[in-house]
């Protein structure tokens, strides 16, 4: 099989047509005359995290709250390790982006006075089943935005220390795209599929985070030498058992609580209730023999049950199917809960690119927004919208008077050869699926996955590191027979890079900052004297270099030039 080359040119290239990418593209188009190209791995109508829908907007400033109190909450829930400048800039925009998505057609529940009905302190109720088609339509009505669907980006194009475009391949034609732009915005989403999942067999992709977000944006940045932050703050979701459907809908929607098999509430035994504690407590209760654990729903009114059936159909239909096909429901049975495998996702925890206050990465010409951007946990859907806007206004200024630059012919040919080798490889001793399972098993057992109850120590991490290196070699021997298999191979390669960086971050934080998310069994205590810092990293000459950086305050305007390299 021979791949053809196609060259495209645009002003702004956005990689990923999801929550952040769509909002960013719309903002650029509405506020400038720039041409924008969104490159999307699937189809923007139903791609990524929001494919099935979402049933609440979880970052909202309620009438009795302020952007400042929002930052305080995120800081407290994240044990102090956040970029306050980033979270604050999001907080100040949240309610404006909510108005904007409402104008685009998202139904939001209101009371008789026209005020949003809250679901918990920072959350409002919506019908988000159709949110992705709404975003897609808003993008497609803009003449200056081009969407390239079914194209998977694999690397940035870099000239000296500047990002000048991206390289990717199509899934429905045998074509490699070389796309040049004055600025590139990475909005690919985070990474799932690094650890062995809850349901490792047939239902392996019935998981919390979108299984098709395999961390391409992180991996491209790592390979290009961008600085990354806080990978060690993994995210582990507390979910309904088996279907891995959300628990917040029940916990906040009908205001219930977690009980063990004896019917006892248990979370407060393990400290103040926080996102991490509710998960950690559930893991511990199972460990000491008090499992299974549940959300207490038995006895709720039938009308509540009916509403829950609907709410789940609007975002995680598996849960409603499971209830009804077994003639059950939350009114007659408590809902069993469990923790998921760890994910790397900057929209929930802090893992991602190290960016300045405008979301510029440490590489010239490259921005990062949404789940792939680090330092600002709990941004969720509306925080991703806000970041899309922030980057858009900065990009409009940045690209003024800039010229398109291109790579030399031989440099592009070299890159093409790297891709083509996967078609030329003679038969590999292992299948693509076997390499993926091996990676997930190593991470599960040696880097704090479900089977290790999320804990790890240095001795185990060193085994993981060595074995991930072995898998790199095997991965390069894999053979692709079509574009889809080529995609599978790159998805594994990208995750192997993420594993390498993640392991170094976990090693570097010699304390336990977050229960379950980052639990270093060699150092089971929190150590504020040494580790009230960001753990950052850069990939240089085949090695991962760790850097510790000082915390950034909420009123600071952080620029990369302020820092010693």
């Amino acid at each position: 099989m021979k791949l053809k080359r196609k060259r495209l040119i645009t002003d702004v290239l956005i990689i990923g047509g999801g929550t952040a990418g769509c909002f960013c593209a719309m903002t650029i188009a509405e506020n400038s005359n720039l041409d924008v190209m969104i490159v999307e791995k699937a189809h923007i109508k139903r791609s990524g995290c929001l494919a099935a829908g979402v049933n609440a907007l979880n970052a909202y400033i309620a009438p009795n709250e302020t952007p400042e109190s929002f930052v305080d909450y995120v800081k407290n829930d994240s044990e102090g390790i956040i970029r306050e400048d980033l979270v604050y800039s999001i907080a100040k925009r949240l309610n404006r982006v909510i108005k904007r998505i409402e104008r685009l057609g998202l139904p939001i529940l209101k009371d008789q006075n026209g005020n949003y009905v809250q679901r918990g302190k920072r959350s409002i109720k919506i019908n988000g089943e159709n949110i992705k088609p709404i975003l897609a339509e808003a993008v497609l009505t803009q003449d200056r935005i081009t969407v390239l669907n079914k194209v998977n980006m694999i690397d940035y194009l870099k000239k000296e220390d500047k990002i000048i475009g991206g390289l990717g391949f199509a899934l429905e034609e045998n074509v490699v795209y070389e796309i040049y732009a004055k600025a590139v915005i990475c909005a690919t989403g985070g990474a799932s599929g690094i650890y062995r999942p809850n349901n490792p067999e047939f239902s392996k992709h019935k998981m919390w985070y979108c299984p098709f977000n395999t961390g391409a944006g992180y991996a491209m940045g790592i390979r290009a030498g961008a600085e990354m932050t806080t990978f060690e703050m993994r995210f582990i979701a507390l979910r309904c058992k088996d279907t891995i459907a959300p628990t917040g809908t029940i916990a906040q929607g009908i205001e219930t609580y977690q009980v063990n098999s004896k019917g006892e509430p248990y979370v407060n035994k393990y400290g103040e209730s926080s996102t991490a504690t509710r998960l950690y407590a559930t893991v511990k209760e199972n460990e000491i023999g008090n499992g299974p654990c549940f959300l207490k729903t038995k006895g709720i009114k039938e009308e509540h049950e009916k509403e829950l059936f609907k709410a789940y159909l609007n975002m995680a239909p598996s849960q409603t199917l499971k209830w009804i096909e077994t003639n059950s429901g939350p009114a007659s049975e408590n809902v069993e809960i469990e923790g998921t495998e760890p994910y790397i996702v900057g929209g929930h925890t802090g893992s991602g690119y190290w960016v300045d206050t405008n979301r510029k990465t440490t590489l010239k010409g490259l921005y990062a927004i949404g789940d792939v951007s680090g330092g600002s946990p709990k941004k969720y859907v509306t925080g991703c919208f806000a970041e899309g806007e922030i980057a858009a206004f900065s990009v409009i200024e940045y690209v003024q008077d800039r010229q398109i630059q291109m790579l030399e012919e031989d440099e592009v040919e070299t890159k093409l050869k790297e891709i083509n080798r996967f078609f030329k490889n003679s038969d590999s001793p292992y299948s693509i699926g076997e390499i993926e399972s091996a990676m997930q098993k190593i991470m599960d057992e040696y880097a704090g996955g479900i089977s290790a109850r999320y804990g790890y120590n240095e001795a185990k991490l060193k085994v993981a590191d060595e074995r991930i290196d072995q898998l790199f070699k095997l991965c390069y021997q894999l053979k692709a027979t079509d574009m889809h298999e080529l995609l599978f191979i790159y998805e594994i390669l990208d995750r192997l890079y993420i594993c390498k960086v993640l392991i170094q971050h976990l090693l570097a934080r010699r304390e336990t900052r977050w229960k379950a998310y980052q639990e270093n069994l060699d150092y089971p205590q929190k150590d504020d004297n040494k580790f009230l810092k960001y753990v950052n990293s850069r990939y240089e000459n085949g090695k991962i270099k760790i850097l510790f950086r000082d915390l950034v305050g909420r009123d600071e305007f952080y620029e990369h030039s302020n820092q010693k390299r």
Binding site: R46, P107, F202, N314, P317, S318, L321
Partner: protein
Amino acid sequence: MNFMSIRIKKDKCISCGKCLKVCPGNLLYKDEDGKAFIRYPEECWGCTACLKECPAEAIQYYLGTDIGGQGGYLYISRDKEYLNWHIVDKNGRKKTIQINKQESNKY
């Protein structure tokens, strides 16, 4: 294979290709007769985007037995502003839940 995440009824499929387009995992392909099929069933996330897109109600969504599936399934029909979710339980009894797209969730 009986444990597919989705099953596409070949006799109902009208070969329009809409499901191929929207699958976030690009998992659907056309067979020699031009009918849609899922090439990698274990890669399915369960988002049901393909069911919502299909104009012929040809796609059913199942739970694998490894996560408690008992042989039930769901399919979707559209009626202007409504999505009708038809859920068939393990005994073949059907329950339909109608959802207005413009109406917000209560939870």
